[in-house]
């Protein structure tokens, strides 16, 4: 057997000493450290991804312009018209009440025409249908509470139809006109040109008048909100009906009274609407209570003025 070592296995003419190996190793580590230090550190904000995937489609630019605000306002007026039609459909309204709602529908149609002109003037395309988010999130549950519907999903019981559809239908119409006034008022500081602010406030004051007239039609005694009177240091009006309280217990009553004389339950305090709800125009959410009272309360929904998630942006082209 020949154990002769091949000469090609040597990498140097002399056998590597321990010191030489240390030098080579140190040099390797030093160069690697130098190279790592010279590379720019990039921060990784996204999780690692395995494999190739189609890059996500970039969303279109959603810029809030004057035109977008006008388009949004028009869309809400379309939704208000839908709500008024719902009031007529479900409310069993009298001819006089129907005439009021019809007049309000016509007024909202006129508002839409004005807003379409302003939209074009602001460089956008007029919007010609209801606000999809408004209809889905607000009008659908309101309809359910007035008309009733079978239970769905995890609900434990069917939704009962309203005990007084007329009351709820008029409340809905009043809430819609109040919302229209608030919406236009809320647009004032967002619009860029003074002439546009005047334009929206023309719509706001008209809607506010409609809300006030409807409040008086619902209850002629409800002129001024008692809270507003208190704030103004005016005595509480004598003819305004005070909302009922739930205090039915009289602690001074003799306990010897016969068991059959149970105090009658106080009637439910339904929401009141006032022609003059406050001294200044409010931008709070409009509260609308509809449906059968249950557990001492009615189904109440907050109607907010449009914001970023309900604006009708310029890239939205289909109704």
């Amino acid at each position: 057997m020949n154990n002769q070592t091949s000469p090609d296995t040597f990498i140097s003419a002399e056998p590597l000493s321990r010191r030489g190996l240390l030098r080579v190793g140190g040099l390797t580590i030093g160069l690697a450290t130098l190279a790592a230090a010279c590379v720019t550190e990039a921060k990784e904000n996204e999780p690692a991804r395995v494999g190739d995937v189609t890059p996500p489609t970039p969303l279109p630019d959603a810029v809030v312009t004057d035109g977008v605000l006008f388009r949004t306002a028009a869309s809400v007026h379309y939704s208000i018209i839908d709500a008024h039609k719902m009031s007529k459909e479900l409310g069993n309204l009298s001819p006089a009440q129907t005439a009021i709602v019809d007049a309000y529908i016509a007024a909202n149609e006129a508002a839409i025409r004005d807003l379409a002109r302003s939209t074009t003037d602001a460089g956008s395309k007029p919007w010609t249908c209801a606000n999809p988010r408004f209809d889905r999130v607000l009008l659908a549950p309101i309809r359910d509470r007035i008309a009733g519907r079978p239970r769905t999903g995890s609900e434990s019981a069917d939704l009962e139809p309203s005990d007084d559809p007329t009351r709820d239908a008029l409340a809905l119409a009043h809430a819609m006109e109040t919302l229209a006034a608030e919406m236009h008022q809320s647009l004032v500081p967002q619009l860029s040109l003074p002439k546009y602010r005047s334009a929206v406030m023309q719509q706001a004051q008209a809607a506010a008048r409609r809300a006030a007239a409807l409040a008086l039609a619902i209850n002629p005694a409800n002129i001024v909100n008692p809270l507003s009177l208190e704030n103004a240091n005016v005595s509480t009006p004598t003819t305004v009906e005070v909302t009922t309280t739930t205090a039915a217990q009289d602690i001074t009553q003799s306990t010897d009274a016969p068991a059959t004389t149970v105090a009658a339950a106080a009637p439910f305090g339904f929401q009141q609407y006032y022609a003059l709800p406050s001294q200044f125009g409010s931008l709070n959410a409009v509260q609308l209570a509809v449906g059968v009272p249950s557990g001492g309360a009615q189904f109440t929904i907050n109607l907010e003025t449009p914001s970023l998630n309900s604006f009708v942006y310029d890239y939205q082209t289909e109704c």
């Binding site: 057997m1 154990n3 002769q4 070592t5 091949s6 000469p7 990498i11 140097s12 003419a13 080579v24 390797t28 160069l31 690697a32 190279a35 790592a36 990039a42 990784e44 904000n45 999780p47 690692a48 991804r49 996500p56 970039p58 630019d61 959603a62 810029v63 312009t65 007049a103 006034a181 008022q185 500081p189 967002q190 619009l191 860029s192 003074p194 602010r197 005047s198 406030m201 023309q202 706001a204 004051q205 008209a206 008048r209 809300a211 006030a212 007239a213 008086l216 002629p220 001024v224 507003s228 103004a232 005016v234 004598t238 003819t239 022609a275 003059l276 001294q279 200044f280 125009g281 409010s282």
Partner: protein, 235 residues
């Protein structure tokens, strides 16, 4: 076992002709290669990370942080021209308040109607005060005598007649504020005037109703003509 060591001398003979620097160069080359190889996994990881940290698209950037409207350039505080307009608005509000004071003193209204008129009177005073809060010492704090004197006779007589005059004056106030709103620059002032005029429109509807409006269109009547600030200068 015969283990020859002849190869070593052969190899030595073979490399004897090579210089020492050449050997050192080989060692260096081996070291550099080692360094490069040791960095390979790290460099490939860097390459993968580049793909994952691609900058977000412009579209998604815009959605998460919507571009501000052009109103961002508008000042919050009233400008000098705004202050002049707001001063006129305040003098009008104080004139209306004083007209209501006159009719309440004459007991033209009773009961709940009188309370409603009082509430409306209080609202106009609150409007004047809020304008003072906005423009401070520039607020005139005095009524427009011209408007007051022109309307004074309309605020006496029967409740229905006074209510109708008051409704008409509220409509004038609404139209004037809308007119002023078309000139105001400061955002704070526009918000205040908007919150005033929207309630004055409600005042008009209530007063039309008190005056005996028999139809919806009469209740909603809004035919007021705006007062020109030039015609009602603040002294």
């Amino acid at each position: 076992m015969d283990i020859k060591q002849a190869a070593l001398p052969t190899a030595a003979a073979h490399t004897a002709g090579e210089s020492a620097p050449m050997a050192r160069r080989r060692i260096l080359a081996a070291g550099v290669s080692g360094a490069a190889l040791s960095m390979l996994p790290w460099l490939s990881d860097r390459a993968g990370a580049q793909a994952r940290t691609a900058p977000p698209t412009s579209g998604s950037e815009t959605v998460t942080t919507p571009a501000p409207t052009t109103t961002a350039a508008a000042p919050k505080r009233p400008t000098t021209a705004d202050i002049e307009l707001l001063a006129v608005a305040q003098s009008i509000e104080l004139a209306i308040r004083d007209l209501y004071d006159a009719t309440l003193a004459a007991n033209s209204f009773e009961g709940a109607t009188a309370e409603a008129i009082t509430a409306i009177r209080e609202a106009h005073e609150a409007y004047a005060q809020s304008i003072s809060g906005l423009i401070g010492s520039d607020a005139p704090g005095i009524r427009s005598d011209k408007l007051y004197n022109a309307q004074r006779s309309n605020f006496s007589g029967s409740a229905a007649a006074v209510a109708q005059s008051a409704a008409d004056l509220e409509n004038v106030a609404v139209a004037t504020h809308i007119d002023i709103l078309g000139s105001l620059i400061g955002v704070d002032a526009t918000g205040l005037i908007a919150s005033i005029l929207v309630v004055e429109a409600r005042h008009a509807t209530v007063l039309n109703t008190i005056a005996g409006a028999s139809t919806l269109s009469n209740q909603l009547a809004s035919d007021g003509v705006a007062l020109s600030p030039a015609d009602y200068p603040v002294k």
